[in-house]
Amino acid sequence: MQMDLRTVSIQPLRQTYDPVARRFGDKPASRYQEGTYDIQSTANFHYRPTWDPDHEIFDTARTRIVMSDWYAFKDPRQFYYGAYTLARAKQQDAAEANLGFVENHGLVANLDAGLRDRAIALLLPLRHVAWGANLNGASVCAYGYGTAFTQPFIFQAMDHLAIAQYLTRIGLLLGAEETLDKAKESWLADDAWQGLRRYVEDTFVLKDPFELFIAQDVALDGLLYPLVFDTIVNGVFAAEGGTPIALTTQFMTDWFKETRRWADATVKTAATESPENRALIEKWVGHWRDRAAAALQPVAQIAVGDKADALIAEQVEQFNARLAKAGVKV
């Protein structure tokens, strides 16, 4: 049965703010739309940045990607601050429950020692990769153009910080404080990690925000997350009795599945805009994919030994298929 509650009804003069009405017509708008479209300044800047006098504060010329409208980008998750925070708080609850379950049931103690060592050796240096990704997310958000494009990058930056912090907790759960220090030494000095560290440090000096997005969020995350968390942790480790480890990294698995949709949509929008954009993106994706695959090979070896080559090849194949769907052939 329907209850017919009444409120005083007044005819509004307009349904939404002008920039949203100009784009979508004067009809009720979503909070994503009102909080996103055209809220970044584009005109009549007062001063040039003292830190980058060749550009305006926000400047389309910082990237070689050319868009007739930088608000062509749309986050399929429609994340504005509120939607983003609520989504993450929910995932945080789940992650907390998983970590608590593993801890309270003493599941780590029952892990095979060899498996535990391999998990530590594989996962803990990735704290630093995530910390690097935090810096890169900040770069794209700061120097990119248009809120529809830049807004997801502050979310990426903070998500990567969270991942670095979850990995830290996992490290402490699997080992001790010294375990973290040892992993950092590996990151700094072990041959297995130097390709990846060089990759990460090289992305720190990229000036083109869109290329940085490709190098970090598309190529590196696009190979690393499915390889490490899906294939190795959820597959190989779980098969060897490491399901408790997979419980602790569920946040990363879910997170990648979600953010990949946004990354694909972003690539697709830019690539569809013009053949020049597409060619540039294909060049960047090819270059950074090859470097990422090479850098991840010795990392995969830590966990799976001589099966690493096959695993990486499989990942690259899946990556190429994924990018093809986004309109990029590599």
Binding site: Y17, G82, A95, A138, I154, Q165
Partner: protein
């Protein structure tokens, strides 16, 4: 979050946080540090040990999400209820709406700028403590921009002047005052940005911005605005702590930093104070139910609270900001001078102005016994008489603007409220004009920056503020209507006097519908 290691050892808060933040960082070797962090040296600030940074909050992301999500849930529940219930009809008087128009166009887009600015600062600092603190604030500032846009969205549906805040910020004459303030901060180096926004604005002056608007909302029945204000309060507390931490950190790192920081404090206190003129005017003239006068607010929030702060900072060799004598003298005057300006230029503003009622004039007389009756009341009385006879005064000549703060040159000489204050500087064969010694000195310290100012009055005269394709040479060309079109101010709806406005009529009609059976 409780954290134990596999051996069952429980970690203290400090150790835990060290692993969660500091331990993540490393010194790059494949790329040079100065290439990874290229913006950290050129301001001349010397930092010897980034690890001396004390993280004020030690907040990890999982806790951040948890607390913030709780606040978001509550806030949006109230926003929805307020809208559903036509809460806008409960405000004291429809004139009040103009105070929040000023907020939505003058402040909310700056919250967005703060979001990008803190992202830039966080990216620029090599220390992991300041990086995380800045990025969390960057995320918060996005929250503030969006919650304000969402809270005020319902007002936009029913009232004029709310419809295009970000567009107006980049064009409308008086909005270049808050906008150039933030452009100035964001184009400065990351350390100056932190002193400008993190310290001077968020710490020293924030009570003079937020308290008047949020308390003003609470006093005037505006639960929508009040709610986002209260919801932002705990974020602001974090930001204020960050602002104080950054200044102490910079000062403690090297004595050579002291004179640089002192110049920034002088500059940004003055710049911030000039922007707050708009708030002073709002407090004294635009709130139907007043909280306190601008003068009282300045005395409580700056002279008392700020006085204690600068006493505390004196151990680093920092003295109180320059030009405080003038500010102290001016507190009897600026809100009246500003209102008179907006009253005159009411045809090209996106909100309404009006003649204060007799009661309101009496209130002003009692709050400003040394200045109001002598200098300002007679003019308001005269304007009101004229308006009642059908001669509402609109000034049709564009004012000269100050090159630094961009406020029309309406302020008076320190010590003489009958004489307009003019200062000028010759630079590279051009004359630049200033409203005060403070603005003049700020220009002289950075002429290459401030010669770039996009001054709205000058831009109109240069023909840069008409819609694309406008031909100013056609017969009967009406520049004002074209400027309004460029501003996206709807002539006859957004602008002019409150008396006779659509807002006034609609509010009366709708309140009638909501409170009677007519």
């Amino acid at each position: 979050m409780d954290m134990k290691t596999s051996s069952g050892k429980k970690l203290g808060l400090k150790e835990k946080y060290r692993h969660m933040t500091r331990g993540l960082d490393w010194e790059t070797t494949y790329q040079k540090r100065e290439d990874v962090f290229p913006y950290v040296a050129y301001e001349g600030i010397k930092i010897h040990d980034w690890d001396k940074w004390e993280d004020p909050f030690r907040l990890t992301m999982d806790s951040y999400w948890k607390y913030q999500a709780e606040k978001e849930r509550k806030l949006y529940a109230i926003i929805d209820a307020y809208a559903q219930n036509n809460g806008h009809l409960n405000v004291t008087d429809a004139r009040y709406l103009n105070a929040i128009k000023l907020f939505l166009t003058g402040i909310s887009p700056l919250e967005y700028m703060a979001h990008r600015g803190f992202t830039h600062a966080g990216r620029a600092f090599p220390g992991s403590g300041p990086r995380v603190a800045c990025l969390m604030q960057a995320l918060d500032e996005l929250r503030h921009a969006q919650t304000q846009i969402h809270s005020l969205s319902n007002y936009n549906k029913y009232y004029n002047g709310f419809h295009d805040p970000a567009h107006m910020l980049q064009r409308v004459w008086y909005l270049s005052v808050p906008r150039s303030f933030f452009d100035d901060a964001v184009t400065a180096g990351p350390f100056e940005f932190m002193v400008a926004i993190g310290f001077s604005f968020e710490y020293v002056l924030t009570n003079l911005l937020f308290v008047p608007f949020v308390s003003g909302a609470a006093y005037n029945g505006d639960m929508g605005t009040m709610t986002f204000g209260f919801s932002a309060q705990s974020d602001e507390a974090r930001h204020m702590t960050l602002g104080l931490e950054i200044i102490k950190f910079i000062l403690e790192q090297d004595p050579d930093n002291v004179p640089i920081v002192q110049r920034w404090i002088d500059k940004w206190t003055w710049r911030g104070y000039r922007v707050l003129t708009l708030v002073g005017m709002m407090m004294d003239y635009m709130l139907p139910k007043r909280i306190m006068s601008w003068k009282e607010a300045w005395e409580v929030y700056f002279e008392q609270n700020g006085g204690a702060l600068f006493k505390d900072l004196s151990r680093y060799g920092i003295r109180p900001p320059k030009w405080l004598d003038q500010i102290s003298f001016d507190k009897d005057h600026i809100s009246h001078q500003a209102w008179a300006t907006f009253y005159q230029y009411g045809a090209i503003a996106d909100f309404h102005t009006w003649s204060p009622t007799e009661d309101e004039l009496d209130w002003l007389s009692s709050k400003y016994p040394d200045s109001f009756d002598k200098y300002y009341r007679p003019r308001l009385d005269y304007w009101r008489e004229q308006a009642e006879q059908g001669n509402r005064f609109y000034n049709k000549t564009l004012p000269q603007l100050c090159q630094t703060c961009q406020i029309p040159m309406v302020f008076t000489e320190p010590g003489d409220p009958t004489k307009i204050c003019y200062r000028e500087v010759d630079y590279q064969g051009e004359k630049f004009h200033f409203c005060s010694d403070g603005c003049k000195e700020i220009f002289e310290n950075e002429p290459e920056k401030f010669k770039q100012s996009w001054l709205p009055a000058n831009q109109i005269y240069q023909g840069n503020c008409f819609p694309d394709g406008t031909d100013p040479t056609v017969e009967g060309f009406d520049p004002v209507s074209k400027v309004l079109e460029y501003y996206n101010i709807q002539a006859g709806r957004d602008n002019l006097d409150f008396d006779g406005s659509e807002d006034q009529k609609n509010f009366a009609k709708w309140r009638g519908m909501a409170t009677s059976n007519e």
